[in-house]
């Protein structure tokens, strides 16, 4: 009689059909260890079974692409024989169950993905989503996640240079923790996860294997309910010190001519690293668990193969180089052991004390998992969401008060309380610190710098997934352009609800379409990514949140630009036009408590023209500051330019054309394709000329002056002053809002 009962199959999150397929592959029933191995590798988290058919549509190639999706991270050429290696990953589920360790191990995992490729990590960014800070639980989650990121990243000595946080109650029971990492590698020294060369030794190094994190990948592929806290034992515990040793040992191993392939043990641990490396090379691997370093002697093969203990790597060394590899690992005080060898039969064969305990074709496990073309349909509630009659909403009366309340709303407020807990300067490359449109790090040994941003307005995505995805790509690129960088590559982290629901799948499919169209238009390839489904608790899904991490190249580091005003007397110039784009705005949410309407209009030709125009001006040295208009619209963008500089506050006097628009639309509407510049007067004419030449709307709207922010609206008759506030007051509301909220509680 079989030991594999229907209950066991269900506990492993496998369907009846999936189990039948396993029997077909093996030609027999699996044993418990094999069942466990299939269950993690065929989990949504590892197999992308619901997303893969759609992900194939994304543009992944380009002249700079050195490594596209499918490896541990993507790589893009930046010249001088160097490339940037980057990826973003989610750690949502573990962070909800145990915020400190969930976030910490999220940082650890993405760092390993990058240094596994032979790149030294030089920057981290995080995209976080929490529910409102008015509940103790959400404050606890945020404090825990921030501490976890700080605890791990700071100890590793990799600066956390930027990120973004959005607060919305839809994330109360399912916060998002997405971590982006970028490293630098020599273009001809990229390492891949491949087990080539029959007979080559397979070497385990890093931490010992323990019982933590067993079935983490399966947990991450399931929805949550009230009992989710009981899953705490599936969350791994991070040890950044061990990871730091692992990083240095890896880079030392890679500097010699010792390795054939290498892969970190992330989700699904020893199982995934071994079968994926074997499958990529078309080979097999024979592992002997007897030699695997372990924390507890009595661990079973099932536990050893499924453990997600952190800070572990698997490498395939060149035959004869074992001793050199072992010596380097021992120098760094790491556990290390030869645990197997590459075979030619394509089988992942696992032995324990001489007995074969699992025998599975590596390719079947790694690549031949189920593929689903899940059904998707436009949900009936979508019309209600987009239907917004602005005539029923009174126009703004006290614009000063609205501006102040927007600036102190958690989403727009300064995140200084957060990023001052992150070491954002270690490695001495940080040119633009957290708090500008994009973070910028210089590349030592060159004149270049790299800009990075993480972005996604998930309310836009909820209101219209296709438009929301396009808007996210456009905003990310605009943020880079405002820092003087040309966008060169993208990584994504697609956070969605349960893909077995047709409305969620509809969101996903439209998101992919939107990303595809926008990336093709802006010629930005997607080189790596991650999908996180089942972000729902008790049946309530998060907003579709396709988080984007975009990377840009600045050829001349001294032409880097920041968002804040620089000098009294400079012109303030607006590129782009305001429309009546109130749908989905932060203003509607904060002031009117509505999350409704169509997201802002986006014309990709106008967007691209704007990017080219701003980049040319920055490169020509004509621009003092450049800031993208996004959450909170033009009034918030002007306020941010006035108060976000590191050294001093600078006022501004601005007059905006009202035209036929509502006042709130001009001040707080989120019309796209707009950038606020400041420039010395000598460049005014050249800026106006170069914008008009390429058809980008341009106007001098005021100047940097005094210590107040003054905004007037110009109607047909005369100009009316609608905003007049001391910049120091704006700063106080904006800078300390989050700190006050956390301390008041």
């Amino acid at each position: 009689m079989s030991v594999i009962t229907n209950d066991l199959i269900a506990q492993h999150n496998l369907t009846g059909d999936e189990y039948k397929h396993i029997i077909e592959i093996l030609g027999r029933e699996p044993n418990l260890t094999e069942l466990g191995m299939f269950s993690v590798m065929w989990s949504e988290h590892c197999s992308y079974k619901s997303s893969r058919v759609h992900l194939k549509k994304l543009p992944t190639t380009g002249p700079r692409v050195v490594q596209g999706p499918g490896e541990n991270a993507g790589a893009v050429d930046i010249g001088d024989g160097l490339c940037v290696v980057f990826k973003m990953e989610s750690h949502n589920h573990p962070s909800f169950i145990e915020p400190y360790q969930g976030a910490a191990t999220g940082v650890g995992g993405i760092l390993r993905d990058v240094f596994t490729m032979g790149a030294r990590p030089i920057a981290l960014l995080d995209s976080l989503r929490f529910g409102g800070l008015d509940t103790a639980k959400n404050r606890h989650l945020m404090k825990g996640v921030v501490s976890g990121i700080a605890g791990y990243g700071n100890c590793m000595g990799v600066p956390t240079v930027g990120g973004e946080i959005v607060f919305n109650d839809i994330y109360s029971l399912n916060p998002l923790v997405n971590v982006f990492c970028l490293g630098i590698a020599h273009k001809d020294k990229i390492f891949r996860g491949t087990a080539a060369g029959v007979g080559n030794p397979v070497i385990y190094f890093g931490s010992k294997t323990g019982r933590d994190g067993i079935h983490g990948a399966t947990m991450a592929s399931d929805s949550f309910d009230d009992k989710s806290e009981q899953k705490r034992p599936t969350v791994q515990v991070g040890d950044p010190f061990q990871e730091k040793l692992l990083l240095e040992a890896c880079l030392e191993l890679m500097a010699g001519d010792l390795l054939v392939g290498i892969q970190d043990m992330g989700a699904a641990g020893l199982t995934s690293s071994s079968c994926e490396m074997a499958s990529r090379a078309g080979n097999g691997i024979e592992l002997d668990l007897t030699h695997v370093p372990r924390r507890e002697p009595s661990m079973t093969p099932y536990e050893l193969m499924l453990s997600e203990s952190q800070e572990r790597m698997l490498m395939v060394a060149k035959a004869g180089k074992e001793d050199e590899c072992l010596a380097i690992c021992r120098k760094w005080d790491l556990d290390v052991a030869v645990v197997g060898r590459v075979t030619g039969d394509g089988i992942l064969r696992v032995k324990d004390h001489g007995t074969v305990v699992a025998e599975i074709p590596a390719k079947a496990l790694a690549d031949d998992g189920p593929r689903y073309e899940r059904s998707y349909t436009l949900p009936p509630y979508q019309d209600i969401l987009t239907n917004l009659n602005c005539d029923l909403i009174p126009d703004v009366k006290d614009a000063n008060a609205v501006l102040l309340s927007l600036l102190e709303s958690s989403t727009i407020a300064s995140k200084r309380w957060v990023y001052h807990q992150y070491d954002h300067m270690v490695r001495t490359n940080t040119m633009v610190r957290p708090g500008s449109d994009a973070a910028v790090v210089r590349i030592k040994g060159t004149n270049k710098a790299v800009a990075m941003t993480v972005d996604c307005n998930s309310r836009y995505c909820m209101l219209h997934p296709y438009e929301g995805a396009r808007l996210a790509v456009a905003e990310a690129a605009r943020n880079l352009v405002c820092s003087g960088a040309e966008p060169i590559g993208l990584t994504d982290c697609l956070n969605f609800g349960n893909p077995e629901r047709s409305d969620i799948m509809w969101q996903f499919v439209l998101t992919i379409e939107g990303m595809k169209d926008a990336c093709e238009h802006l010629r930005v390839p997607i080189v790596s990514g991650n999908v996180s489904f089942y972000n729902e608790t008790n049946g309530l899904s998060i907003y579709p949140t396709p988080m984007l991490g975009m990377v840009g190249l600045i050829e001349q580091a001294d032409r880097t630009t920041t968002q804040w005003f620089k000098a009294e007397g400079d012109d303030i110039i607006l590129l782009g036009t305001a429309r009546e784009d109130l749908g989905g705005s932060e203003y509607l949410k904060v002031v009117q408590a509505r999350e409704q309407g169509s997201p802002p209009f986006l014309n990709m030709n106008a967007e691209k023209a704007l990017h080219d125009c701003v980049l040319a001006m920055i490169r020509a040295g004509m621009v003092q500051s450049a800031h993208d208009c996004s959450d909170g619209g033009l009034a918030v963008a002007l306020a941010e330019s006035a108060m976000s500089g590191p050294d001093r506050l600078l006022g501004a006097v601005v007059t905006l054309a009202l035209g036929r628009l509502r006042k709130d639309a001009v001040l707080f509407g989120e019309s796209q394709s707009r950038v606020v510049l400041s420039a010395k007067l000598v460049h005014r004419q050249a800026i106006l000329d170069s914008a008009r030449r390429v058809g980008v709307p341009v106007a001098v709207i005021g100047s940097v002056t005094g210590n107040r922010l003054v905004i007037s609206l110009e109607g047909e008759q005369s100009a009316v002053k609608v905003i007049d506030v001391p910049v120091a007051m704006l700063y106080d509301r904006w800078a300390f809002s989050i700190e006050r909220t956390l301390h008041q509680a």
């Binding site: 010190f241 001052h420 807990q421 992150y422 001495t428 030592k444």
Partner: protein
């Protein structure tokens, strides 16, 4: 001139120190592995920032047992210049090369930010390029920089001008408003009685290049380079 940068497991500002002294200030730099028991032909020794051994117990508490620390002690006793930055300062305290101890920051948070420090003693080999009472803007990045010592030791530090740097406001006032971490007497850096060992929490190596927007830290590093030229090469160990 040859500067040794000690690498403990978990050091993470070792490359930054190497870069600033070698590539920016044009000195020879030798990376010294923590298991080495002797220091030869070095004109100065840097203990860099980081999280030595993870600092899970108490900052610097394990690193002081590294074999290299015996050599650092001899090197310092023979008059060699030793600079401990951040974790390096914490290790010097634990090793007894400098008096006092570190507590958690008053906020109980890690703090990464620019702070201002006032040069209280410009006559050390680490501050000779600064003017007395000059205010420098230098970043800190630590969770345990709240310096503490007993009243008698503090009085001794004050009397002997061993308090080299104090946290202050941008205009140079030593007040609680200028103190980022609760440090006793606003102490940001102290030296030993002989003046050849300095520990400081701020990171001068992070602000010594104009491309990073601030080069105040260069005054400290350039002082050290000048100071090395005056001292003769050291050979210590075995």
């Amino acid at each position: 001139m040859n500067i040794g940068v000690v690498v403990f497991p978990g050091s993470n500002c070792d490359h930054d120190c190497q870069y600033i002294f070698r590539d920016v200030l044009g000195q020879d730099v030798t990376m010294v592995w923590h298991k080495e028991a002797s220091l030869t032909r070095l004109d100065a020794v840097i203990l860099p920032g980081g999280f030595s051994y993870g600092d899970y117990l108490r900052t610097g508490a394990i690193a002081r047992f590294s074999p290299v620390m015996g050599a650092v002690k001899k090197y310092a006793a023979d008059g060699g210049l030793v600079l401990g930055i951040c974790n390096g300062f914490q290790i010097l305290l634990e090793a007894g090369l400098l008096p006092g101890a570190m507590l958690r920051n008053q906020s109980l948070h890690f703090i990464c930010n620019d702070v201002h420090v006032r040069v209280e003693n410009a006559a050390t080999p680490f501050t000779s390029a600064c003017k007395p009472s000059q205010v420098l803007k230098i970043p800190i990045a630590h969770a345990d920089g709240n310096y503490y010592t007993d009243p008698v030791t503090l009085a001794g530090l004050q009397a002997n001008a061993q308090i080299v740097l104090r946290y202050c406001t941008p205009d140079g006032k030593v007040t609680s408003g200028g103190n980022p971490n609760g440090s006793l007497d606003n102490i940001a850096g102290v030296c030993n009685a002989a003046g050849n060992v300095l520990g400081l929490m701020p990171h001068p190596e992070r602000c010594a290049e104009s491309v990073l927007g601030n080069d105040d830290g260069r005054l400290i590093l350039a002082s050290l380079v000048e100071g090395m030229k005056k001292a003769k090469p050291q050979t210590v160990g075995e």
